[in-house]
Subunit: 543 residues, 2 copies
């Protein structure tokens, strides 16, 4: 079982140092500390374990060190920043693992960009040596890239020429869409195993600047200090501690404080229940800071995030997740109101951004989601997003029981999808007028009102309820899991596309295709033969 929890004291591969407003994240991969057997993490190459630490570090900087304004990513190894994902790890991994590995590393890089865009932290890639493949892709997720000019160090994406696969962590998309590198130059760069150095890398826009070895550290430091000094007019907040997420594991369930995951492995589905907040306390920002990671919106969503990652990687045969909720709608709405009131406070902002990331992780999870809305549920405000994120929702229609859903300020834009739309905008592409209508409805919707408003998919009555849910589950889990993954990836993201959706849609889909082609993973494939005396032999038919 892969464990997604860690903390700086436990890191094997990264050093996180905080010095005032500057955090330095130094990569120093221990080649024997691998997640699986059969490969060594040489030259600061990484496996999922290395990236779990990176994701943790970025999350902790945001919550535990809000005073940080600049994050410097660099390496403690001489002449090498990072050699990217470990090829032998990829070569020995199952297709499903490769795909999940790439998805997680992509989410980590998007989390860097989310921090930069919304919390204003500036990410600097200080490449004290070569950054190749995933190493350069990590750099390109940062705001600025500086490369040492030592006559040797280069940036490169050698996946196509050396491995017969794509740079799998957004590299191609970010080349042309983020750094807007001319497509013909991007083509040359992406087929050049040795990459580009110094002046040409700068001229082509692959890096922001290059400094001689003797001046590299000083030049980067001077620039970092400059960035920090222009931002020192704000009050320095004090972070909160992110404690480990407690989870009780049994053979077929994970029990957290606010989340319960029940696994029905025989039937290939799971129930994922989220409990709403327990009280309705109006809390000041200071009280929220004091509560820290036990505050419901942070704790519940951290648990939800953990459960989603667990489902993806450790429960591959679970094809369908039934989302359920338990609690008082009024409590959820009160929490939303409280958060919304203080949304400009640093911690509240981070909590809301975190909720957004977790919901996007759900949107991007290759499992079907059905929301089951019953008496005692609390799909309101931020939790209504779960129902809107679902592929379908079922709401009991029983005049004798109270079953309700409700909107809040949180459905108006605080928790956007990867395509930049709210989930209501995505839902009502055909009738944008409905969004205002739904949001203007200040009371809860009962089942008939919810159906009339277009907020739910089906509203079976009491007599049909059990059978209809059971049949829907059976039917869904009988279908081809591959076809469902492709279908959901196509239907969930209507409307505009962004760099993120291009990375998860277009680029990832092509990478997944290539990842199972004989030219990559067959006996004579490039990935299989990398580092061996044998050479790859391609079937040259273009597809």
């Amino acid at each position: 079982m892969i464990n997604f929890q860690t903390s700086p004291e436990q890191y094997h591969h990264w050093k996180l140092e905080i010095d005032g407003a500057v955090a330095t994240l130094s990569m120093d991969v221990q080649e024997d500390e691998t997640l699986n057997e059969g490969y060594k993490l040489k030259l600061n190459s990484y496996d999922l374990g290395v990236d779990i630490e990176l994701a943790d570090a970025i999350q902790r900087i945001r919550f535990e060190h809000p005073e940080v304004r600049v994050v410097v990513l660099t390496s403690l190894k001489p002449r090498i920043f990072c050699a990217g994902a470990n090829i032998y790890m990829l070569g020995t991994s199952s297709h499903a693992f490769k795909v999940n590995f790439c998805k997680f590393t992509n989410e980590t890089r998007c989390a860097i960009e989310d921090d930069s865009a919304h919390s204003g932290r500036r990410y600097i890639a200080a490449l004290n040596g070569t950054a190749s493949g995933g190493g350069y892709e990590l750099a390109i997720a940062c705001d600025e890239i500086y490369l040492v000019d030592d006559g040797n160090s280069a940036v490169s994406l050698p996946e196509v020429p050396l491995l017969g696969v794509l740079p799998g962590t957004g590299g191609l998309t970010r080349l042309v869409d983020k750094r807007k590198i001319r497509r013909d130059r991007a083509d040359v760069f992406s087929t050049l195993a040795e990459g580009l150095k110094g002046k040409r890398a700068k001229d082509w826009g692959l890096i922001d600047d290059t400094f001689a070895t003797s001046k590299f550290q000083d030049s980067v430091n001077a620039h970092v200090q400059e960035l920090v000094s222009t931002k020192n007019d704000q009050q320095t907040p004090v972070g909160i501690k992110l404690n480990p997420i407690n989870v009780e594991l049994s053979s077929d369930a994970l029990e957290y404080k606010y989340v319960r995951l029940s696994l029905h492995r025989e039937q290939r589905y799971a129930d994922l229940t989220i409990r709403g907040p327990e009280g309705r306390p109006e809390m000041s920002p200071e009280e929220i800071e004091q509560a820290g990671d036990i505050y419901w919106p942070l704790r519940a969503y951290r648990e939800l995030d953990h459960a989603l990652l667990h489902l993806r990687v450790n429960e591959p045969e679970i094809g369908l997740v039934c989302l359920r909720s338990e609690g008082e709608i009024s409590n959820v709405i009160a929490v939303d109101k409280n958060l919304f009131t203080h949304k400009d406070h640093w911690l509240v902002r981070e909590i809301i951004l975190h909720m957004g990331r977790v919901l996007r992780r759900l949107d991007l999870t290759a499992k079907s989601f059905f929301s089951i809305i019953e008496p005692g549920s609390c799909f309101a405000g931020n939790l209504l997003e779960l129902a809107l994120a679902s592929d379908r929702s079922y709401m009991l229609n029983d005049p004798d029981q109270k079953v309700e859903i409700m909107t809040s300020e949180f459905n108006t834009g605080a928790l956007p999808m990867s395509n930049g739309l709210t989930r209501l905008q995505s839902r009502f592409l055909a009738e944008p007028g409905k969004i205002e209508e739904v949001l203007a409805h200040k009371d809860p919707f009962d089942t008939e009102a919810a159906e009339e408003a277009g907020l739910i998919t089906f509203a079976p009555d009491d007599l049909d309820w059990e059978d209809e849910i059971r049949l829907a589950i059976e039917e869904r889990t009988s279908l081809s899991p591959d076809a469902l993954t492709g279908m959901e990836a196509s239907l969930r993201f209507a409307g505009p596309e962004t760099m993120d959706t291009k990375i998860y849609g277009r680029l990832t889909a092509w990478q997944n295709w290539i990842f199972q082609r004989p030219n990559a993973v067959g006996e004579h494939g490039a990935l299989t033969n990398y580092g061996k005396p044998t050479k790859a032999q391609f079937d040259y038919k273009r597809t």
Copy 2:
């Protein structure tokens, strides 16, 4: 060898009837007239041969019957409109063929939408029976869909539930992006093998209306007449004849009038040379009509289109195409000027739209393209788009020889890419100011000016030229063809996405992934076992 040329007299599967402003395209697939052996085209199911006729019919309506304002697609078979792509054909086809088949059918459907959007012809799908799978996808490419209400006929996308693959012809994307059907309803519809009928299909937005059997024909006719009568204020143009494209085939070349395709199969590349126009006649629209299909812009681009299709399907091992041109820049510019002057004339408009479609076919071709710009070439105006569409361009830098390129009005928006941008906009995403600069430059660019302006990739000098081109070709054709396909699909379409790019990027990539998964095409896969007594058995791991 697959032949992409046909004409109405030769159609096996479609009847094209023109009655004033109304064209009726009736599908009546002959089950034994298949392109390959091993399957029968029952229930108006189709193979590539059926779609080649459809593409031809749409093209001919535009050029030969400009008087047509409404095109009705219907079927001559009772109770069935079209059952989609033939499953047994798909089951017995190679992966590469399936992919190329889907790409061509997608381009045909996009051509319907191109005609509707830019030439104002209205496409009506008159579903006199069930439209399933590709049958419904053909309908959804039309502007309006009417379904007979006979208690039986339905629209459906049964690919996911029955075949374990995706609707491969844009269906999922058009559901949520064109008809903007609510994503949860799209999810239900796309997993419901039997589809939806009558009122519910209408309520969910899958069709525009439904009429009882006895009233179906009259209701559709009345609506068509209504559409036609509101458009009868224009002068009725008279079409031109599209004669067969003459091509001389030898073992390693295709010779057309303006295009020459030389195949270097051993080295896995081809030279595709386009000859510019021969004179500089200023022609009036009437003279252009008289010239008809021998007019250079129409003839040359029809030939180019044919060569591209031939390369895709009949020469799969050719991985790289070197684009070359021969002729006088001034002649190309004169033709562009002439076309631009008369761009509102129906035939000139159709010719320009056709050039745009051919260039988009090139953008979407899974081969590498290098432009080779030498003395005697004429990459100017519309032909400059070939260089801009290339993955790279090489321009000889020799002060002793005249080597030039040049822009015209045709580089400002008449020939857009699938993403809605011009190729100059795509190229200069980082520096949009450069576009105006380049367009303001009214003289030809010599090699140094072209390089300075960012219009070419490399400018080797006379001494290096031969070696550099040879090495570039050798290097490109040595790389994994799969990785190149994915890389090019990612780098060619920076910037915004449209429904078209989503279909060719996101949806197609997922479909291609699924098309080679064991769950679809393995021994126990759904596609393999369709129609057999055995049942599909899935590996249920979600990826």
